[in-house]
């Protein structure tokens, strides 16, 4: 009980640091300090979580942290200043897939009730879309794939069918959690949806798309938090989800466009081009 209280009180402190950090990031004079404040919040949240009594074995945690830490640090240090936005896209993608995996792993930790099943499926769905969407955004920005909008005949109908397929398979999985095949279908279709959502958008609009995907990765973390009953995931995820949407709108406004105009620009260009 004592440790659980300490963990949760530290989560409150971490949430406060995230909130101040985000606020400070919004103004030039305090931005760098704001990033540090938010990093301290993250450090506290991670360290205190290691005290959690359900953690029995530290070797896999250590392996994951060392691997991820080395890769993240090396990439962040070596990347050229001009390719920062695509780097953010890649990092965002890793956050998305992490939420997908946390949601998936939650299936085996305890007997999830139907509310938790819904949130597990949501974290898998949003995490998957964030992952492949971010990879495509990275590909377009780094010019590893063509930046022009990729559209084909029947794409809208295909996307509508895809979304219907996700809704059906997700519902089937929530109702029959023991049929693991439905889970694999949800994972595969969400990964496909991430690709389909980003390919029709032109390379020049990618910063807005990355901002939107950043919001999604927050929502994915929030859904994972609801699935495993972790307050700091819910709070931090919702903060990023909401502030990410506002930032996306601000970025659209700066270009004198609306969000739907950016998201569906590829389709309208083809329609008006004949």
């Amino acid at each position: 009980m004592g440790i659980e209280l300490l963990v949760n009180l530290t989560y409150v402190a971490a949430a406060v640091l995230f909130i101040f950090g985000l606020k400070m990031l919004g103004s030039p004079a305090t931005a760098r300090k704001g990033n540090l404040v938010s990093a301290i919040g993250m450090f506290l949240a991670v360290v205190v979580t290691l005290l959690d009594q359900s953690i029995i074995d530290y070797k896999w945690i250590g392996l994951g942290i060392v691997l991820g830490g080395v890769v993240g640090a090396v990439v962040a240090r070596s990347v050229a200043m001009t390719s920062m936005p695509e780097m953010v896209a890649l990092f965002n993608g890793t956050g998305g897939i992490a939420s997908l995996l946390v949601g998936w792993a939650a299936l085996y930790g305890f007997d999830p009730n139907s509310f938790q099943m819904v949130t597990i499926v949501l974290s898998i769905l949003i995490g998957g879309v964030t992952f492949t969407g971010s990879l495509i955004a990275y590909g377009k920005l780094s010019e590893r794939m063509p930046g022009r909008p990729l559209v084909f005949g029947g794409q809208r109908i295909f996307n509508i069918l895809l979304i219907l397929g996700i809704v059906v398979s997700a519902t089937l999985f929530v109702v029959n959690p023991d049929t693991i095949a439905y889970l694999y279908i949800v994972v595969a279709l969400s990964l496909l949806l991430g690709v389909m959502l980003v390919i029709p958008i032109g390379g020049a609009d990618m910063p807005v798309v990355i901002s939107l995907l950043n919001s999604y990765s927050g929502l994915a973390a929030c859904a994972a938090g609801l699935a495993i009953n972790n307050i700091i995931l819910i709070v931090a995820g919702a903060l990023v989800g909401a502030s990410g949407i506002i930032l996306t709108q601000i970025m659209c406004k700066a270009m004198n466009r609306s969000l739907s105009n950016v998201l569906f620009s590829g389709f309208s260009a083809v329609a008006s081009g004949g």
């Binding site: 909130i19 919004g26 991670v46 945690i61 991820g68 830490g69 890649l90 939650a106 909401a242 502030s243």
Partner: protein, 96 residues
Amino acid sequence: MEIVFLAFILMLSIFLGFELINKVPATLHTPLMSGSNAISGITLVGALTSAGAEHTQLATILGTLAVAMATINVIGGYMVTDRMLAMFKKKQGDAK
């Protein structure tokens, strides 16, 4: 009751997120995006318990992968944001 409690927390956090961001100068759009992206790496906290709790072998594998991926997000995200902001400050200094 628990779900109501979680819904309250969720709702308040979303409203707070909406209110936090306003009138951000265009030069800060990318660093702000990058900085909040690093915060979404909080999913690492969830990954830690999946990787360490020894529920099933599959859960441990999924959790370990999640820890690695989320750590890339956290470490890379904060470092890249700091690099961007450091450059930003230097540029302003040069202008003066």
